[in-house]
């Protein structure tokens, strides 16, 4: 197979850093703080810390696999390490996770848009526009939409700084107390470990590793992205508690989103911060969903030996649409979809790749140009 045609784009370290960061923070930020409050309450920061450590280990695993198999994608690694059949299954799991994650992101984005801005527009219409944007972004290739992500920082960074600093006047730091609570019982619950799959930087690496211009810096760049994403998660965890208090933060659907709802600028051209937030999130969400769909398309294209990932993209889109519209309510989404997303994430992006590396090490298999 001609890998060069599949991976036309080469990503600079700077582009990769931002793609990984945006891909991690864009939409899961809606869900993860709620899990932290509900599972650990005031000690929710421990979930962020745990997910931070897990993500670092998983990232090192992804980099190790990439290096061992000469800069291949995960499809190539698993095929060489596990053999064609098991490798196909392992890659299939990863492609399924990308697809599922893209559907979950689309679901959240469309709902956020409807709730905050386009209240009377049917969800399907909002979703259709989102899908078209994602198709276009993926179609033009990772290199191009990485440039878009790079340029969008000019809008995103000031907006995010603005979003985080604006509700400061409502902040009551004491609401975070008691910080040092260690609900050990929570550590034994499956919910805690499921939710610890929060920072998904490593998951992108499996397919984007060959696109790095400088693959030696892959680990450093990824760890940087994890650090920034982790810091952002910490902010999204702490902010709603400092403003609403823990009892209310626990029952908010999207806690960080709710903090934006309470800020208003009298006489400002756009009075409600919500409009700014929506723009920022739509840009970030489009980038992250495009990244997930791109990874899924490339993964499937490699699995089926297609020369162009756009063919698998075309086949993938109906699946993503069906998965996105399948949950009939937010309760369905939160009860089943999010848990399935976590569970599949653990299996496809951590457990199976770890087994793959283990088998490769034990059997001494490595790629042609592996280090």
């Amino acid at each position: 197979m001609d890998r060069g045609q599949l991976h036309k784009g080469q990503l600079t370290s700077w582009q990769m850093f931002w793609l990984l960061t945006i891909g991690t923070t864009s939409t899961v930020v809606f869900v993860s703080p709620s899990d932290a409050y509900q599972i650990l309450g005031y000690g929710g920061w421990q979930l962020i810390l745990t997910s931070f450590i897990i993500s670092i280990l998983a990232t090192l695993l992804a980099v190790k696999l990439g290096r061992r198999f000469g800069g291949s994608t995960y499809v190539g690694c698993s095929r060489q390490a596990l053999g064609p059949t098991l490798g196909f299954i392992a890659s299939g799991l990863l492609a399924s996770w990308y697809t599922f994650a893209a559907a979950a992101d689309s679901f959240l984005l469309a709902r956020a848009m409807k709730v905050s801005l386009l209240i009377e527009t049917p969800l399907e219409a909002i979703f259709a526009v989102g899908v078209l944007s994602v198709i276009y972004a993926v179609w033009i290739g990772v290199e191009r939409f990485a440039m878009f992500a790079e340029v969008s920082l000019l809008v995103l960074i000031p907006l995010i700084v603005f979003l985080v600093t604006s509700p400061l006047k409502w902040v009551e730091v004491g609401n975070l107390a008691p910080v040092f609570t260690f609900p050990i019982r929570a550590y034994r619950s499956p919910g805690f470990w499921l939710a610890a799959f929060m920072l998904r930087v490593h998951a992108f690496l499996y397919m984007l590793y060959p696109s790095f211009v400088n693959q030696r810096k892959a680990a450093t760049i990824s760890l940087g992205a994890i650090a920034l994403a982790g810091a952002f998660f910490a902010v999204t965890f702490a902010y709603p508690v400092m403003i609403f208090g823990m009892p209310v933060a626990k029952i908010l659907l999207w806690p960080f989103w709710a903090t934006i709802r309470v800020t208003r600028f009298s006489g400002f051209p756009v009075e409600k911060l919500l409009y700014f937030a929506t723009v920022a999130w739509q840009v970030m969400g489009t980038i992250s969903t495009s990244l997930l769909v791109y990874c899924a398309s490339v993964c499937l294209a490699e699995m089926f030996h297609l020369k162009d990932y756009r063919v698998s993209l075309i086949m993938l889109i109906p699946v993503i649409i069906i998965l996105t519209v399948a949950p009939r309510s937010y309760t369905d989404f939160h009860s089943y979809w999010v848990r399935a997303y976590y569970l599949l994430g653990w299996i496809a992006t951590i457990i199976v790749p770890a087994i793959t590396l283990l088998v490769a090490v034990v059997s001494g298999r490595r790629g042609n140009s592996g280090a």
């Binding site: 005031y42 709730v115 905050s116 801005l117 386009l118 209240i119 009377e120 527009t121 049917p122 219409a125 909002i126 259709a128 526009v129 078209l132 944007s133 276009y136 179609w139 004491g174 107390a177 008691p178 609570t181 403003i243 609403f244 208090g245 009892p247 209310v248 029952i251 709710a258 709802r261 309470v262 800020t263 208003r264 009298s266 409600k272 297609l306 020369k307 162009d308 756009r310 063919v311």
Partner: protein, 428 residues
């Protein structure tokens, strides 16, 4: 075949004309779907609700009275006397339901326009309904994404319905009056504070806090004898050309004092000095006036101090099984008047009077705060000052919402005030 199709599509995509077509199609689709004009929801087909009053209607229903501005009344005339061009500036709708959400939905039945809550800025809860509980109302309003979470929420003395038609003559729309009343950052209002929907929701559903809401009282303008004056006496802000003869001849809305709740039910009011002490203790404001009696040193004299800075540090500690709260106030004030007693003209005399005023101010503030806390502990039996939150933070393992209801009335509170009288204005 699939590969050939893919290669063909890639080649086609790279043609500039095709890419332009794709881009144009995308832009067109964005225009159609994201312009916000779905189902012909034109601006003149909407009733923008700016204020909502909620009252009990019978034993188990609520009534919602909604105020919607009439834009043409602004376009057609000036802003005097509560009405542009002499006509009403707003219209009132009302509907009933088992819950606020249902009653709000039923508003659509009484108008040809679509009800739009995007500009909701004020919610007034009637006294009777507040005494029965506001938890459900807050939930109904905060939950809906259509309503603005930063809308002001108030509790009325009497029925909210009686306030909805009152239009103070200085503003075209009554909601603007309330907004500006609570938005000003002056030092003259220390008996009320702005509470927004999200604020109230947080207080209502945090077990270590109790809800409080600013109180609003309305006065309908009484036309003076002989039919002269009276601006905006009728609902909707009628007529503005007549000169008011007295404050009572015009519509008035006064926001002063607080409605205090226990378990989300109104149990009483804090007024005047108690309300001011509450504002200071909760860090809601810094203004207000303190008048101290210095007649024992300067016969027949009083000193008035305008507070310009108030800060309070709160601490909780345990003494045996009991909690003890310390409130340390640091205040700064300007001397506004001493009825002709000049302070520091020369020598010790002025210095002594200055010191006396400072000490009396400290004592007065201490008494005001203690009186307010006494009222909360003994009369209203509700922790509106959120001492429970202090205890929860300091002793999280011991704190229990249920037990706190019994503990709060017996909590010892120490108040210490340190005052500085910094400005004397233009007289010694």
């Amino acid at each position: 075949m699939v590969r050939r199709a893919a290669m063909h599509s890639r080649a086609a995509m790279h043609r500039p004309g095709v890419r332009l077509l794709v881009l144009c199609s995308l832009v067109f689709l964005l225009l159609v779907t994201l312009s916000g004009c779905w189902d012909v929801a034109e601006i003149d087909h909407r009733a923008f609700i700016t204020s909502v009053g909620v009252d009990m209607a019978g034993d188990d229903k609520v009534e919602v009275i909604a105020r919607s501005p009439i834009p043409r009344s602004v376009a057609g005339g000036g802003t005097m006397g509560g009405g542009g061009g002499g006509g009403p500036t707003f219209v009132l709708y009302s509907a009933k339901g088992s819950t606020v959400a249902q009653a709000m939905g039923a508003l659509g039945e009484v108008t040809d326009k679509s009800i739009d809550l995007g500009h909701l800025r004020e919610i007034i809860i009637g006294e009777e309904l507040a005494r029965r509980g506001v938890g459900q109302i807050l939930d109904d309003i905060f939950r809906t994404s259509l309503a603005d979470a930063t809308a002001i929420i108030l509790v009325s003395k009497g029925k909210a319905r009686d306030l909805m038609g009152i239009s103070p003559p200085v503003e075209v729309f009554p909601v603007a009056y309330v907004e500006r009343y609570l938005h000003k950052d002056g030092l003259d209002v220390a008996t009320s504070a702005r509470v927004e929907v999200w604020n109230a929701y947080s207080m209502a559903w945090t077990p270590s806090r109790e809800l409080f809401l600013p109180r609003i009282i309305g006065f309908r303008g009484k036309p003076p004898k002989g039919g002269q004056g009276g601006g905006g006496g009728d609902g909707g802000g009628q007529g503005g050309a007549k000169t008011p003869q007295s404050p009572k001849s015009q519509d008035r809305l006064v926001i002063s004092g607080f409605g205090i709740f226990r378990d989300n039910k109104l149990v009483g009011w804090l007024e005047r000095n108690d309300a001011t002490a509450f504002v200071w203790t909760m860090g809601l404001g810094k203004g207000g006036y303190v008048v101290v009696d210095i007649s024992d040193k300067v016969p027949g004299k009083k000193a008035t101090i305008m507070m310009t800075y108030v800060r309070v540090a709160k601490r909780v500690r345990k003494e045996g099984d009991n909690y003890r709260i310390s409130l340390a106030f640091k205040v700064t004030g300007n001397l506004q008047g001493t009825e002709g007693t000049h302070l520091v003209v020369k020598g010790r005399r002025g210095h002594e009077i200055h010191k006396l005023i400072k000490e009396r101010t400290e004592k007065k503030i201490e008494l005001m705060v203690k009186s307010m806390i006494h009222k909360l502990q003994r009369d209203l039996k509700t922790d509106a000052v959120s001492f429970g939150e202090l205890v929860r933070r300091a002793y999280p393992r011991e704190w229990s919402a249920k037990a706190w209801d019994d503990i709060f009335p017996g909590v010892k509170v120490d108040v210490k005030v340190s005052a500085s009288i910094t400005e004397l204005n233009v007289l010694h």
